[in-house]
Amino acid sequence: MFIRKKSVWLFLMPGLLGLLLFYVVPFFGGIYYSLTDGTYKNAFVGMANYADIWKNQMFLLGLKNTLELSLICAPLVWVFSFAIASLLNRLRPKGAFFRNSVLLPYLMPSSAMLLFWLVIFDFGGVINRIVVALGMERVMWLQGSQMRVPIILLFVWKNLGFAVIIFLSAIQAVPEPLYEYATLEGAGFLRQTFGITLPMIVPTAFLVIILEWINAFKIFKEVYFISGSYPDESVYTLQHYMNNMYNKLNYQNVTTAAYSFAVIVFALFGVLFLTQRRLLKRLT
């Protein structure tokens, strides 16, 4: 049921005003800002800032790392959370303890949890003991490009739970008779998962990958806590670049970088969205 009433504006007003004031209006204002030179006269320079930023090594490095990290992290969380949700669904109505413990890390603050990570990934730490027990050489996890491993694992550890919850509620909505019929036909767990569950929850799978991708773009704080504003070049993220430029008061540069990134993000999600639509059409 929908209500048609003027009083709707009363409910909308506070949020709408805030969104317009803090996000929408300055977003468009910023486009003009990114086309000026930022001097006292603030002369119009056209696309010069964009041309500059696409030649800026540090920007390109940050962009590349952020995209790479998110391209590893988001699919990892996506695959694992779907697998875990399917396993949890098998145990239903039991398995509450497992489900609850997967959700716990999502609420834990990163900087407190990082302590444990630093201890186990130390050169003499537990992870290296396992590495040696498996017959390999010790690895310096907290330096150089190997640092990506703990960063990625920390991300997966923290974000897995929320994705599992979303998948689980979608899987539980799949009609039970479908599975009973499949079992009678002799389909095993794996066939049921990929033949029934996955096609039934395509929109949810799409939502989860988008949400995780947005989260993965944010990977920064763990790197910052381990190695500050100028980490190894394999983990120098876009946020590092933005913060460093911002602290040098180079606002034009920050704005241009942000909008260049926005274009990339929308292009990526646009492609994903079209893929999902295609997929749904083919399935129905």
Partner: protein, 290 residues
């Protein structure tokens, strides 16, 4: 369901259980160990942390599972002797409370308007919210800074707080739940003569308890983990930083008490988790992006 369990060989369920059991251990161990270590004596932890960062192939860090002697001295130090962590903790709490209060006013109302009303521009507004939700912080920080600078709030606590009040994700989360509310519920309230506002506060909000609880818990987790926002919006006022930004610096300067600090820092999040667990499980009903 019964039939299915009988037909399946018991071994497979055992496999599922052991995979999930292993997973649960991985998920819980970091939190449990952090809390256990917080009961070590400061000297024990100091000695333990000093064995870190050693690049000698012959040396290992000690495998420590529990404290040698149960001690509360770490807590005594951070709660009584040196209160710098506690002060940051209070900062964090103030941010979290002010952000959540603002969100409580703005977000459910907006979600209600977008889910139960028909008006011109509804689709456009919702589309805008989805677009904003998709933008990462690196992008939205720019418009935020522009406005905050214009109205002179940059480098004040409000710079961190106010933009968070309009978090598009929580509008989306609550709206999706409200879309699923049964029509009869609201029709019955209207029959009884309740106006839109009464209907909202006496019918809609109470039945939305699960999703509101979920939103509180998830948003609290965000507030408790704020790093990027303070670092940029408060770049010239490091004294206003919350614990989330400063914890690692404080921990680096005094290794003796880090684990009690971390445990203290985790504690509110743990309470929120336990209190709102069922709300998160039943309130998060996100199935698609529209």
């Amino acid at each position: 369901m019964e039939k299915l369990t009988v037909r399946q060989p018991g071994g497979r369920k055992l496999f599922t259980r052991s995979v999930l059991g292993l997973l649960a251990i991985i998920m819980l161990v970091p939190v449990v160990v952090t809390i256990l270590y917080s009961f070590c004596s400061p000297d024990e932890i100091d000695a333990f942390m000093k064995t870190r960062g050693n690049y000698d192939n012959a040396l290992w860090m000690e495998l420590k599972l529990s404290p040698k002697v149960f001690s509360l001295s770490q807590y005594y130090e951070i709660l009584v002797l040196d209160m710098s962590i506690l002060r940051m903790f209070v900062n964090s709490a103030v941010y979290a409370v002010l952000i959540l209060l603002g969100q409580a006013v703005v977000i459910p109302m907006m979600a209600y308007a977008l889910s139960r009303f028909r008006f011109r521009g509804r689709e456009a507004i919702f589309f805008g919210i989805i677009m904003l939700m998709l933008l990462p912080f690196q992008v939205t920080m720019v418009p935020n800074v522009l406005t905050l600078r214009t109205i002179g709030l940059l480098n004040t606590v409000w710079a961190v707080i106010i933009p968070m009040w309009f978090s598009p994700f929580y509008i989306f989360l609550i709206r999706q739940f409200m879309l699923g509310l049964p029509n009869e519920l609201l029709e019955a309230a209207q029959m009884d003569g309740a106006g839109t506002l009464r209907c909202y506060s006496y019918v809609v909000i109470p039945v939305c308890r699960p999703v509101i609880g979920a939103a509180i818990a998830l948003s609290f987790a965000d507030c408790w983990n704020l790093v990027e926002q303070p670092m940029t919006y408060l770049s010239q006022r490091a004294d206003l930083y919350p614990l989330s930004v400063e914890f690692n610096r404080l921990a680096g300067s005094n290794a003796k008490i880090v684990f009690a600090g971390a445990a203290l820092y985790i504690l509110p999040a743990l309470f929120i988790y336990l209190y709102f667990l069922n709300d998160i499980l039943s309130g998060v009903q996100l199935t698609e992006l529209k």
